[in-house]
Amino acid sequence: MSAVLEQVFQVGFLAAIIRIATPLAFATLGEMFSERAGVLNLGIEGIMLLAAMAGFTGAYFSGSLWVGVLAAVAAGALMGALHALFTVVLGLSQHVCGIGVTLFSSGLAYFLYRLIFGQQSVPPSIKGFQPVPIPILSDIPVLGPAVFNQFTLVYMAILAIPLAAFILYRTPWGLSVRMVGENPRAADSAGVSVMATRFQAVVLGGALMGLAGSFLVMAQFNAFTFGVVSGRGWVAIALVVFGRWDPWRSAGAALLFAFVDALQLRLQAAGLGHIPYEAFLMLPFVLTIVAMAFMSRNAVAPSALLKPFRREER
């Protein structure tokens, strides 16, 4: 047991948690914005994959990682716009469209990657982001090297959480997002365009999912593989529910999941894997389903989630 504790309080372990949590935090915030506006985005799994592909390709050919990040964000936003076109503008069923967007964008990601890079025995890779230590802060023992000697994208994720909370709770646009997710009719009668607000929220969500995808290929794996997302999108959907549609709680849920995942990896490495690692991997899903069962009594999901809004209904 003491060996385990030693592992836990290692700098490397804390840093690993942060790195596992970063793409999840982006993806979870993205899904949260979309769902707060009343739009479930099951396309997230495919959007992250396509964004990862676009990001990798952009970085590979431009030689600039930031061009890659931009490409990933653009791809994410574009797929968000596609989902919004179907669900918000045309009012089609959100879950079926989401599955469609996931099938479409993951198919497209595989297709384009194979088209551009062909079938190679050793997949092409890039030199990914390097940690950027923050002066002074990175000198704090344990916490410093773990949190303040990280990739720029990690810092962006850390800043994105309070920023998301500020936008959602303190700005007129954030209030509009929450209102169209709770009672679109009320927003409409107050002169707020339900369609525009929802569209913007879903596109912003897609862009954040794109950031998540870019982190996977540019900071975590430094290559694009077909399993690069492998269910992280579904995890994000679970984390949004688990985090009760709140930026702070959702990010906290991402951190908690990352902790369990990192622990699982360490335990395996340390040869302490009595429990199959799959048990840890399925944990967020099981916990979310259990949480949903308890939560639904005082329902906290946005009231208008999954409900399309059309004016002049008669």
Binding site: I99, L108, F111
Partner: protein, 348 residues
């Protein structure tokens, strides 16, 4: 400005032509990708067609692939008719595969083994589907998210088993021990892989159709799906109907797994389903939730998947085109469906 206007009635011809229109639009859109890959559109689709439906062996291969998709398509159709949003056919398929493989590995007479495999597989699929159904009717938990998340749970259970206690001791790979030879589904045509499960899948479609349109239970499922409040007022136990629909749906998805174990793979591995459960959603929507439409649509998508490999070898267009076609077809169909309920009017 253009706007949508509700239709009073949907013309009958639209119901039949819309899926065709959606498929044609999909093929046209995806031909852009073929051009991008530097191949001829007619060439690529031609090879795809020949390799999947061009000769009798190819047709049997396509049918073998269509079988699980027919089952998942029917599973989704039945569930969606009751507005039970079963996104979990994938997990139910995996559960069915595991249960039937487990039973099939026990030595017993072949026919009995097959029967018990089918029962075990259907029961396992139904059990998985029961979870989101009970959560919904008892605790009002959203069935979309819970059934989706269960896919991952079942997948990881499968992985844990075949990498752990259930790993085939005679294999280096994470796969389960094979079923008994006698438990394998009989091949219908010598020299092909066309197994009994394919026939069962094709026959299941009219049965599901009968269930939905000709039985009291089917009537209750339809009414519950369209208007649960009117159903309740009409004396229908809505919660019970949703649970029954979920059980039947899960059982059908479970049978998809039974067919794959009993007729194709004879054991369970991590990639036993390349997303047949999700394909079921595409198929059900393209079939306009009509069980009889599920068969041709499933065969079409199976042909695309079977033909894509050959197309890739012949023209260099990546075989992943078939995945793009599936996703595009679903989205195209959703837009097309809009025209059954609305028409576009020009407004001042």
């Amino acid at each position: 400005m253009l706007r949508l206007e509700a239709r009073q009635r949907t013309p009958a011809w639209l119901n039949l032509t819309l899926p065709l229109v959606a498929i044609v639009v999909t093929l046209i859109l995806c031909s852009g990708l073929i051009v991008l890959a530097g191949a001829g559109v007619a060439d690529a689709y031609g090879v795809m067609f020949k390799a999947s439906l061009g000769d009798s062996y190819a047709i049997t291969e396509t049918l073998v692939r269509a079988a699980p998709m027919i089952f998942t398509g029917l599973a989704v159709t039945l569930a969606f008719r009751a507005k039970f949003w079963n996104i979990g056919a994938e997990g139910q398929l995996l559960a069915g595969a595991m249960a039937s493989c487990f039973v099939g590995a026990i030595p017993m007479p072949g026919p009995l083994a097959m029967l018990l495999m089918a029962i075990a597989g259907a029961a396992a699929g139904a059990a998985v589907a029961l979870i989101p159904a009970l959560l919904r009717v008892r605790l009002k938990v959203d069935d979309v998210v819970s059934s989706l998340l269960l896919n991952s749970v079942v997948f990881y259970i499968l992985m844990a088993l075949i990498e752990g206690p259930w790993k085939d001791p005679f294999s280096g790979y994470p796969i389960s021990p094979p079923i008994e030879d006698s438990a394998g589904l009989p091949v219908l045509i010598e020299g092909t892989r066309l197994h009994l499960g394919v026939l069962v899948a094709v026959l299941a479609a009219p049965l599901v159709w009968l269930l939905i349109s000709r039985t009291v239970l089917g009537f209750r499922i339809r009414v519950t799906g369209e208007n649960p409040e009117a159903a309740r007022y009409g004396g229908i136990d809505v919660q019970r109907v949703i649970v029954i629909a979920a059980l039947l749906s899960g059982a059908l998805a479970g049978l998809a797994g039974v067919g794959e174990v009993g007729g194709v793979h004879f054991q369970v591995m991590s990639d036993i389903s390349p997303g047949y459960g999700y394909s079921g959603i595409v198929i059900a929507m393209l079939a306009r939730l009509n069980p009889l439409g599920v068969v041709p649509v499933a065969i079409f998508l199976a042909a695309v998947m079977t033909g894509a490999e050959a197309m890739s070898r012949a023209t260099g267009v990546p075989a992943f085109l078939s995945d793009v076609i599936q996703g595009t077809a679903l989205l195209a169909m959703l837009v097309a469906l809009l025209f059954t309920a609305y028409r576009i009017r020009r407004s001042a």
